[in-house]
Structures are given as structure tokens and as C-alpha cells.
């Protein structure tokens, strides 16, 4: 017996790493190699302990993003796709003993395995990506970022307009399925717009995502069919949550020094 629920309700925040006092770097995770019987297979005769993750609900009702993102899309996308990733992940984790005791963020990094991902990576990353995506939106979203986020955007992109152009361009020039991110790059200490394919997310490079947009076709096809441009613009105008972005930036500044504090001169 002994199924665990570790990580079931853990925060999806990428910053909730267990308290390692290694400064900016995230904990060194073990280098993994494929065993003969599979990546993380249970050795025969092991007692069954396994990890399990729950499906987080979006922080709003499924019809709250209408008319910009329909309830039908939310039901399909969250209730179908996102749920399938969670269930797929849990099924895989039943057979693994090494992948126990990770927060979802850690699981994504471990299964990415420095560019040689294990089969669990796709599911783990997509669960994380979708958790992050729902939280990147809010009813009554859109409009402009404010305060610290706006300042940082203006510092790193010149202007909000320039950032928005870059973000939209990235979304429209993505080949195939993937995601677009506003990310805080740890080493360079600046914001950047990046696009990733399929399930990849900036966690694997140790960067800090601030906002994401799902550009898999299932994210917009029911509402906008092939009109990607309209979907992206609606996201920027009506869905993106700059409030969440502010909170994420504030937490990120505990890990990334974005500049000297302004000390008032008496």
C-alpha cells in the first residue's frame, strides 16, 4: 500500500523550490540514464509508493472568459486536454519510484533531463504549462501592465507597443504547436519574448516565466478557427492578466537582481 499525494496540491509556482540556500541557482538534480527496463521503472518487488498530481481548476469559472474564450473551449481544453495530461502523468508515475517527492516544477526539470527528456516529460510539462496558462488569464484582463512590470517592459523592450509587437509576431511565426512566453531571463536579468515547441517551457532553462499564451490549435480552433491573429489580439486586449504578471515579477525579484534599488537621497 502506500500511494502518496506528494505534490498533489503544491503551488504551481516555479519558485517554490525546497529551501536550498544556493542563492540563485536551483537545486542540482540527478543526472539520469535509461535503465534497462525503462527510464524510471520500479525495481521488481518494490513496495508501491508513487507520486500523484491533481488537476488544478482555473481561478475562474469556465464561462468567465466569454466571449473572448468560450466556455466550450474551456470545457474541452481544461476538461479534456489538460485533464488527459494529468491522468496520463499519474499513470506513468505509478510505474516509477524515482519520480517521487517532486513538486511539479521539479518534476518538469528532472524529466527534461537536460535535453534528453523521458516519456513523462511531455505530460508533466503540459500539466505545468496549462496550470500556468489558466493563471495567466483573468476575466476582464488585457489592457496595459502597470508599475514595476511596465517599467521593466519599457526598460527591456523600449515600449509596451514594441513588446506587444514582438509577442504577437512570435505567436504568429511559431511553426507547429507550441507556446509563447514573456520570460525573465535569470542570467541576463531582463525580460524577453520566447516561443517554444510542443511541451517545452522556460523552466527547463531555469528562466522565470511571467506570462504564457497557448498556441496549440486546440486552444483557439473552436472559437477562432484558423484566425490566429484574432486570437492573439483578443488575448492581449481582453484576457492576459497583468495582475498575475506583477505578482510573478515581484516573486522573481527575490531571485533575480534587476537593478539597484532607488535609495532616496536626503
Amino acid at each position: 500500500m502506500g500511494s502518496c499525494c506528494n505534490g498533489a496540491f503544491s503551488a504551481s509556482s516555479h519558485l517554490s523550490v525546497t529551501g536550498f540556500s544556493q542563492g540563485f541557482k536551483s537545486p542540482k538534480l540527478p543526472r539520469l540514464s535509461k535503465r534497462q527496463d525503462g527510464w524510471f521503472a520500479q525495481p521488481p518487488g518494490a513496495s508501491r509508493i508513487c507520486a500523484y498530481y491533481g488537476l488544478r481548476t482555473p481561478p475562474y469559472k469556465l464561462d468567465a472568459l466569454e466571449p473572448h474564450m468560450s466556455q466550450r473551449t474551456l470545457e474541452m481544453h481544461w476538461g479534456g486536454h489538460h485533464r488527459n495530461y494529468v491522468e496520463g502523468l499519474n499513470k506513468q508515475l505509478e510505474k516509477s519510484e524515482i519520480l517521487y517527492g517532486c513538486t511539479l516544477d521539479e518534476l518538469v526539470k528532472v524529466t527534461y533531463n537536460n535535453g534528453n527528456p523521458s516519456p513523462e516529460f511531455n505530460n508533466a510539462a503540459q500539466v505545468w504549462n496549462h496550470d500556468f496558462f489558466w493563471e495567466s488569464m483573468q476575466p476582464g484582463g488585457g489592457s496595459m501592465p502597470e508599475l514595476g512590470v511596465l517599467q521593466q517592459i519599457e526598460k527591456d523592450f523600449g515600449s509596451y507597443t514594441n513588446f506587444r509587437e514582438k509577442f504577437v509576431e512570435a505567436a504568429l511565426t511559431l511553426f507547429g504547436s507550441g507556446w509563447v512566453w514573456l520570460v525573465l531571463k535569470r542570467e541576463e536579468r531582463r525580460l524577453a519574448v520566447i516561443k517554444t515547441s510542443n511541451a517545452i517551457c522556460p523552466l527547463v532553462w531555469d528562466d522565470i516565466p511571467i506570462i504564457s499564451l497557448d498556441m496549440w490549435e486546440h486552444a483557439y480552433y473552436l472559437d477562432y478557427k484558423n484566425d490566429k491573429g484574432k486570437y492573439v489580439n483578443v488575448f492581449m486586449n481582453h484576457l492576459v492578466s497583468w495582475n498575475v504578471a506583477m505578482a510573478r515579477m515581484a516573486r522573481a525579484e527575490a531571485f533575480v537582481n534587476l537593478g539597484e534599488p532607488k535609495i532616496p537621497i536626503a
Binding site: 511553426f175 507547429g176 504547436s177 507550441g178 510542443n198 490549435e217 486546440h218 473552436l222 478557427k225 484558423n226
Partner: protein, 225 residues
């Protein structure tokens, strides 16, 4: 959608246009009406797929080729190399979809009829039976992560049939220079989402009812010589 009017096929064939010596491409006509593949594939999907998605690949392919021509003329190597991904993606999209339309045909024109002739024999030899082949293609298509295609191909060198998948719009030849596509099934979400939603396996199960084995057999016989 309660009513599905019989949508007429779009006639856009302008042939090849010559522009500054650069051959540009245009959308090939479908050899059947948009609604002709129902209920396996809905008319709505066929129309969007053909008029919007395929057309977009062609438009962007032409644009990339024009830019490439410019870059080559100027000797701008950085630009030439940078354009390769756009050419592969959009050109691949055009190639793949052009094959795909020929891989499909209405039931009343033989869609779904099992292959006879040398291809039918080759399938039995290499896979045991048509059912086994269909299972293999369906499972590889369903397991494909993200967007891509699943193919039945002929390896001209080894003279055998293969089942392969390619990502995004990569043509089959990216998996092996000797591979010739006989049948390709588009598993991008736009190919089935409006009808099958996220149940890709159902789409894969149903598409066999409109697969044009006659065309696949023709290609096989031609390439096997």
C-alpha cells in the same frame, strides 16, 4: 450544425505564374466537393483546410521563395540560411497537403476500398494484413505529440514499405532520402478538431473510409519499377 449545404469546390487554379523568372505556386483544386467526404470528414473542415490552411502555406511559401531569390541575388548568406526554416515549413505544408487531397476520395468513387494489385500484396507481405497496417498507422498517429503527419511510405532502396511520422510540416523525405510517400494522414489538430475535438483516435479510425488506395497503388507501382 443542423444543415450542411453541399459546398461547391473552389476553383482557384491559376496555373503557374511566372514572376521575374521565379515560379510561384497556387492552390490545386480538390478533385471532389468539400462535402463529399462526409461523414468521415466534415465539409466545414475540408473547406477551411483547403481554402485557409493550404492556401496560407502556399502564400507564405511563395513569399519565402521571393525573399530567397533576393537574398541569393545579393549574396546574403545569412538571409539565405535564415529563410530555410520558412521554406521547409511552408513548402513542406504545400507538398504534404497536395498529396493529402489525392489520398482522399469519396466513398462512391472508391474511397475506403482495400488496395488490390501489387500494393495490396506488398502490404500483406510486409505487415501481415491490411488491418495490422491500419493499426500501426493509427497508433503512431495517435501517439504523435504536437503537430505532424503519419505516412505509409516506400523505401526505394530497400524495396520495402515503412510507416513513419514527421513533425510539423516536414515532408517524408526528411526521414530518409529514399522514402516516397504513398499515403499521408494529417494529424494536425486543424485536420479534425471541429468534428472530433480532442479524440484523435476517432478521426484516425474514420478516415480509412475515404482513403484512396487506388492512388497509393498507382504511386507504388510507378516507384517500384
Amino acid at each position: 450544425m443542423a444543415l450542411r449545404p453541399l459546398l461547391s469546390r473552389k476553383s482557384l487554379g491559376l496555373g503557374f505564374a511566372q514572376l521575374r523568372g521565379l515560379q510561384t505556386f497556387s492552390l490545386p483544386d480538390l478533385p471532389y466537393d468539400y462535402g463529399a467526404l462526409e461523414p468521415a470528414i466534415s465539409g466545414e473542415i475540408m473547406q477551411l483546410h483547403h481554402q485557409k490552411h493550404h492556401q496560407a502555406y502556399i502564400t507564405n511559401y511563395n513569399k519565402a521563395l521571393e525573399q530567397l531569390q533576393d537574398a541569393v541575388a545579393k549574396g546574403d548568406s545569412a538571409a539565405v540560411v535564415k529563410l530555410q526554416s520558412a521554406i521547409k515549413f511552408n513548402g513542406g505544408g504545400h507538398i504534404n497537403h497536395s498529396i493529402f487531397w489525392k489520398n482522399l476520395t469519396p466513398v462512391h468513387e472508391g474511397g475506403g476500398e482495400p488496395p488490390k494489385g501489387s500494393l495490396g500484396w506488398a502490404i500483406d507481405t510486409h505487415f501481415g494484413s491490411l488491418e495490422t497496417l491500419v493499426q500501426k498507422i493509427n497508433s503512431e498517429g495517435a501517439a504523435l505529440q504536437g503537430s505532424g503527419w503519419v505516412w505509409l511510405g516506400l523505401d526505394k532502396d530497400l524495396k520495402k514499405l515503412v510507416v513513419e511520422t514527421t513533425a510539423n510540416q516536414d515532408p517524408l523525405v526528411t526521414k530518409g532520402p529514399n522514402l516516397v510517400p504513398l499515403l499521408g494522414i494529417d494529424v494536425w489538430e486543424h485536420a479534425y478538431y471541429l468534428q472530433y475535438k480532442n479524440v484523435r483516435p476517432d478521426y484516425l479510425k474514420n478516415i480509412w473510409k475515404v482513403i484512396n488506395w487506388h492512388y497509393a497503388n498507382e504511386v507504388y507501382e510507378k516507384e517500384s519499377e
